[in-house]
Amino acid sequence: MARFQAAHTQVLGVSIDSVFSHANWGSSLGGVSFPLLADFHPKGKMAADYGAYLDGAGISDRATVLIDSNGVVQHASSVTPAGQRDIGELLALCEALDAKSATPVEDISNPKGLPGGSVLYIKSQCGFSRKANLVASNLHASLTVKNVSDDAGAMAELKTATSKEQAPCLISGGETLQESDDIVARVVELCATPL
């Protein structure tokens, strides 16, 4: 990813799955930090606009499109749904485009990251905890995750810090966030490569 970033290239994954499927799947792969777009409703619209939707199968093709910073298509190809992309080849394409590009580009900055010692408290069987934890996992956020459902010490710690047994809870750099939307927003702000 760093080399695509150096070539001023934003990588976007796209399938017809929902954002929830993307978050869970990305995390299962060890964390996918680049955007996975949900071409979910109307289903496959973006793929269809790019001629990459397979009507009969109801899914998109394994297609690749490179767009320059001026919004013009510079490369379009498919390896078929069962095929495998050659990422090295695609990186070379992006680097070549960037080298000859007359259109302006800006350097892509790295995220700041969370303050040291950040802790995310979660509960088992809690959708809000899962949501916060998936975002942290996909962004490889540097924090310690403590599950208060199976760790009495962590529960005691949470209660001391917040006088509540409410999770998810993010304690980070002197800030305490107890709403999953706030936690997600802060982790994305500090750990995701800015769009």
Binding site: A7, H8, T9, Q10, L12, G13, V14, S15, I16, D17, V19, S21, H22, A23, N24, G26, S28, V32, P35, L36, L37, A38, D39, K45, M46, A47, D49, Y50, A52, L54, A57, S60, A63, T64, V65, L66, I67, S69, N70, G71, V72, V73, A76, S77, S78, Q84, R85, L90, C94, L97, T103, P104, V105, E106, V135, N138, L139, V184, V188, L195
Partner: protein, 44 residues
């Protein structure tokens, strides 16, 4: 498949972090590599 040299259609879709991502937000800033894939939870 869309042809090389044609203008890329605008899109506005949400990502796994709840951010709205559009093509126009990268105009004049970044090139964009779009990787379409058939489905989550299948071999990549």
């Amino acid at each position: 498949m869309i042809s090389v040299g044609s203008p890329a259609p605008e899109f506005a879709l949400d990502d796994q972090f709840g951010r709205r991502v559009t093509l126009s937000q990268f105009r004049g800033k970044r090139h964009v590599l779009v990787l379409y894939y058939p489905l989550d939870w299948t071999p990549t």
